[in-house]
């Protein structure tokens, strides 16, 4: 199995076969995580650099775990400890890393398009671990894997994506991924957090009750206070009343609805604690699947299938 793309810059350029290949590979690799010795030599001798320009706990540790399980040699660079703090440009940092001939660079960056910039200037394979408000492809893949696991399929599912759509790279990747896999996606948020033209991708409603009516899955997006320049909604209280996922509101969805959240959660803002910790929540399954999906991505892009 191999992918049609050399890099993983986003879900948008992937075709359905690519997505299915990644999910199938993740399914078969996940079993390694349950073994007593969680290590296979698939990527022995391959080097991966995790270059994180934004704080990240989940995504970074997930990539690191995946790299270790597959025996890749990896190294993580975070901005606070890197030359970026001394004012080095991205191109110079990357040229220095390139001089060490890594096989892959996993990049998390606050600027949309930063992975595309790297792809133009590097020989290494680039994996986008989240770029600005553009895409976060491995998050969408792990969400799809979780849905497929729990529901047996993605095709035909009604999935509501609710919250801060404006700033969300998770939303954009998920819209592409779910639609390519045949799900019906409905988007919902206050108009101030719905960017123009988003309705060209999927139907948009400002009414949360309508969005989650009969939903098979609800994907709650984090309100990204750190990216806001103010004035998107009057108060956290009103946001929670109109767009927060509460037990009461959840009754409108299907009885076996799944609740997903990319994390980190703002409890009491977009999601009530009893929902986040409740029986429909698959938020921790998402984390486990995150490692499996990233193993699959590394494996497929680094030619672990036995390329010379």
């Amino acid at each position: 199995m191999s992918l049609s793309q050399r890099h993983l810059l986003g879900i948008e350029p992937l075709d359905v076969k690519d997505i299915q290949a990644i999910l199938d590979t993740a399914d078969s690799l996940r079993e390694i995580l349950d073994r007593p010795i969680k290590k296979v030599p698939a990527l022995r001798g391959k080097t991966v650099v995790n270059l994180f320009y934004e704080p990240s706990t989940r995504t970074r540790s997930s990539f690191e775990m995946a790299e270790r399980v597959l025996s890749a040699d990896s190294l993580s660079i975070a901005t606070a400890s890197s030359s970026a703090a001394k004012g080095e440009t991205l191109i110079d940092t990357v040229r220095n890393i390139e001089a060490m001939s890594p096989d892959m660079i996993v990049l998390r960056h606050a600027s949309s398009g930063a992975p595309h910039f790297l792809a133009r200037h590097c020989r290494a394979v680039i994996v986008n671990a989240g770029d600005g408000a553009h895409e976060h492809p491995t998050q969408a893949l792990l969400d799809a894997l979780t849905l497929r696991q729990k529901k047996g399929r993605v095709k035909g599912l009604k999935v509501a994506i609710v919250g801060d759509l404006l700033h969300s790279r998770v939303a954009r990747s998920n819209i592409y991924c779910l639609q390519k896999l045949g799900a019906h996606v409905v988007l919902c948020g206050p108009p101030t957090l719905v960017p123009p033209g988003l309705d060209t991708l999927a139907p948009v409603t400002y009414d949360m009750n309508q969005a989650i009516e009969g939903a098979d899955a609800i994907m709650m997006l984090r309100v990204q206070f750190e990216r806001m320049t103010g004035g998107y909604f009057p108060s956290v209280r009103e946001y929670h009343v109109r767009y927060g996922l509460t037990v009461e509101r959840l009754r409108r969805a299907k009885r076996d609805v799944l609740i997903l959240h990319p994390g980190p959660m703002n409890r009491g803002v977009e999601i009530a604690s009893d929902v986040a910790d409740g029986p429909y929540s698959v938020i921790l399954d998402q984390v486990t699947n995150g490692v499996a999906v990233r193993m699959a991505v590394l494996f497929l892009l680094l030619g672990g299938a036995g390329e010379s």
Partner: protein
């Protein structure tokens, strides 16, 4: 006495409704004769058969960067680029370092241009001191020193009160106020046009309405004050509509458009995968905006083509998209793009093209030139409408390499530029 005879070219001078095969005699920096067959002895003869001979093109919107950012451009390199691009005169925007907000700076620019410039340089003074948008600059001194207009280009005048005072006060000196129209609170941190493409790319967008709000404001203030306003680099359909309505009401408003705004749309930001050479301000807009700019150029709502030539260093552009400097170079591509994208498809005829690049810019700011009538300054642009060439940024005379048009093959190029009777560029 230096004498030059241009023979057999198709002379297009819309200011005098001339479009004929004529000879043109230049003596001592002036055009002295324009006749079907001129025979003169002891002159240098240039055969221009099959080529178009037009009054020298004038760019109302150039960033020469000197003084202050000579790493990006100098008056020498910028005016050389202008000559190669077919321009005989450029108007230099005041956002240099220091800002051209005092007569001393204007004079320094003019002295440098006299010494090192290959084409005419007309400085534009600042609207406000330091272009900070607060106190007016000294327009009288600026004009007397040689400024031909005032503008706070790049740092739009946010306050309606300040813009009102500028339009009023500028009337004393007959100066036109050139405004970069942008409502700053609608474009905070924006790096492209707001719309479906910015949404897909996850980039912050500036809505077209943010430009149009200021165009509407400026037109209303021009009406209120009786001042003259010129809308720089118009990019949005809403703005073109505002100018059209303003002109219909008899308000003194004129407008310019840049080649990138009639040649490209915001889709190229996506197609090129965040190439920072697609980043400028105002940004590339959506297709209906591009089409409206073309229509405005066709029906005369937009008076002229200007380059907004904005050279930057490689380092300014070789960064993340949202970190990159705004702007592209334009002097060496504007004329070819205008021929290829407007003349060839029949949007304008040759007289219309010459109006947009020469006679109208001259008229808007009352500059010499814009015609080839006997007695005019011998500023001439010669075009080869059949010449095909690809844009090669590595061969630019400007220091800037920041163009989205690299590699693009265009038909119709300037092949000779004459300023005051001197041939400053020749590629025959």
């Amino acid at each position: 006495m230096s004498r030059l005879l241009l023979k057999g070219g198709r002379v297009v001078d819309p200011a005098h409704e001339v479009d004929d095969v004529l000879d043109l005699l230049i003596e001592d920096g002036k055009i002295t004769q324009l006749e079907p067959r001129i025979s003169a002895k002891g002159v240098e003869v240039v055969d221009l058969e099959g080529l178009v001979v037009a009054p020298g093109f004038i760019d109302l919107h150039t960033h020469l960067r000197e003084p202050g950012r000579e790493d990006k451009e100098t008056i020498a390199t910028g005016t050389k680029a202008a000559a190669i691009g077919g321009f005989t005169a450029v108007c230099a925007m005041p956002n240099t370092d220091p800002v051209n907000d005092q007569a001393g700076i204007t004079r320094a620019i003019l002295e440098k241009a006299k010494a090192a410039g290959m084409v005419r340089v007309y400085p534009i003074g600042a609207i406000t001191r330091g272009s900070r948008g607060e106190e007016l600059a000294e327009y009288g001194d600026l004009r007397d020193a040689g400024c031909v207009a005032i503008s706070d280009d790049g740092r739009p005048v946010a306050s309606a009160r300040v813009m009102r005072r500028a339009l009023e006060y500028a009337k004393t000196f007959g100066l036109t106020v050139i405004d970069h129209c942008e409502e700053p609170t609608l474009s905070e941190k924006a790096c492209m046009n707001e719309g479906p493409v910015s949404t897909l790319l996850g980039l912050r967008g500036a809505p077209a309405a943010g430009e149009a709000i200021m165009v509407e404001r400026d037109i209303l203030l021009a009406e209120l004050t009786g001042g003259k306003v010129h809308i720089a680099h118009i990019s949005a359909a809403l703005s073109v509509d505002a100018v059209r309505r303003g002109k219909a009401r008899g308000i003194q408003v004129t407008a310019e458009a840049c080649p990138h705004h009639f040649a490209l749309t915001d889709e190229v930001v996506k197609e090129t995968e965040y190439d920072t050479h697609t980043k400028m301000n105002p940004p590339l807009r959506a297709e209906p905006d591009r089409a409206a700019v073309v229509e405005g150029l066709r029906d005369g709502t937009i008076d002229c083509i200007a380059t907004d030539h904005a050279p930057h260093t490689v380092d300014d552009k070789r960064v993340e998209y949202d970190q990159a400097a705004f702007g592209i170079v334009g002097l060496e591509t504007a004329v070819a793009l205008s021929i290829d994208k407007l003349l060839s498809p029949g949007v304008v005829d040759i007289a219309g093209l010459v109006r947009l690049l020469s006679s109208n810019p001259a008229r808007i700011l009352g500059l010499p030139g814009g015609t080839l009538a006997a007695g005019s300054p011998a500023d001439v642009t010669v075009l080869d409408l059949g010449k095909k060439k690809a844009v090669d940024p590595n061969r630019f005379a400007t220091k800037g390499r920041n163009t989205p048009f690299g590699g693009l093959s265009l038909k119709g190029w300037p092949v000779m530029t004459i300023v005051g009777g001197h041939v400053v560029f020749r590629d025959l």
